[in-house]
Amino acid sequence: MSREDVLRDATGAAERRDELVRVALTTGDELDDIRRAKIWSRVEDRLGEPVHAPWRWLLAGGAGALALAAVVMLIAMRGRGAADGFVAPPDATLSLRLGHASAALVGPARLDVVETGEQATTVALRSGRLLAEFEGGHGRTLRIQAPGATIEIVGTLFAVDVRGAVTCVAVAHGRVRMTTFARVIEIGAGRSACSDTPIDHAIAEDMRDALAHHAAAVAVASA
């Protein structure tokens, strides 16, 4: 039942008022991983020294199927002047919430958070693979900086792969705009493109499977 249905069904002024209050105050009350990490960084700074170096988190990553029910480890890296970041070691998958995107960082991989805000979230994928489903909405953007490319997403299911100096993007649903040094390319559903080649092509089988697994995992996690 949607929130509007609940409000419509509320009979009596008091019940409706109480429901309005509940709706107003429970929306947006979730703390995502990026925000949680940023707040912790500031707590550490204020306490005067890191509580533990390197910082260790336990986050569980999973897909609906048994296969993904294993293990994640997050190490928040804070280098000199670096933004908050996440590192997924080899053979590990890190489940993240990046603003309005449910994401999985498939190790070995490194992701830095550049900027977060109500309208736009910007991250930098330094290496590895990022799977994400972005809920989008009016005015919202997820921006991914990667070697040789900047990728902007509005409401879609997609993957970004960084291998050395080449970035490839595959889109399962929606559309993604990838800007490289040479051109801007729009990548539609079922297509893939890389920063070093001029045209897009159909998504490879293994990438299609990976995106489907990620979507299933997000669906289970949010059920």
Binding site: R36, V51, G139
Partner: protein, 205 residues
């Protein structure tokens, strides 16, 4: 770097029994184990943020206030005698921080100024007229809540939003259940009056 393994179900289960481990965590923290406080943060940060949100609304200061709660917890732990559960201590601190914030911001309503909040709230299936109408009502809610004094507001919201009993609220706000019941009753009456007046004014304009 130490590799640690966990599965999603185990992490969620561990959150359910965290209160039993809190005494051990506090003891480790006092013994100088730096990881213990980090574990407290990791375990309780989301709940603190949620507590602040459900009292204050979507104010931008929630991040800073969450930080302040944990800094205050860090200061309070050396003297904490275990007279309440760690969760209770943390939520008491969060409520105090929320009340301080309400006092300093006085009658400024926590109305979101950008559309993203209302996009989250209202489904795309609602018509533009419905969305506009609900948005007006929600803005009215925030404006009315801003006029209620902090103690009454906190008691009212813990009751209406979180469904807590008077006894549960009393533990968090350090008052008797009878005092809490009065605050809730007065808060509801005040909110009714403010809401009715605001609705009348909206119809007349």
């Amino acid at each position: 770097m130490i590799a640690a393994l966990a599965v999603l179900a185990a992490v969620r289960a561990s959150e359910a029994v965290v209160d039993d481990d809190d005494a051990a965590l506090i003891a480790r923290h006092r013994a100088g184990d730096r990881e213990a406080f980090a574990t407290m943060y990791r375990t309780h940060a989301a709940a603190v943020y949620r507590r602040l949100s459900r009292i204050l609304g979507p104010v931008p200061e929630r991040d800073d206030l969450t930080q302040d709660v944990f800094l205050a917890l860090h200061r309070a732990l050396p003297a904490f005698r275990g007279e309440a559960r760690l969760t209770t201590l943390i939520h008491r601190i969060a409520i105090n921080k929320a009340c301080e914030h309400l006092r300093t911001t006085a009658r400024r309503p926590a109305t979101p100024t950008d559309g993203a909040f209302f996009d989250d709230l209202l489904s795309l299936a609602a018509s533009p007229a419905e969305r506009a109408s609900w948005r007006e009502e929600l803005e009215r809610v925030f404006a009315c809540l801003a006029r209620i004094k902090p103690k009454k507001r906190v008691a009212l919201l813990l009751r209406v939003v979180d469904g807590m009993s008077f006894e549960e609220i009393a533990v968090l706000v350090d008052a008797t259940p009878e005092a809490v019941a009065k605050r809730v009753q007065h808060g509801q009456r005040e909110l009714d009056e403010l809401f009715a007046r605001a609705s009348r004014e909206a119809r007349m304009s």
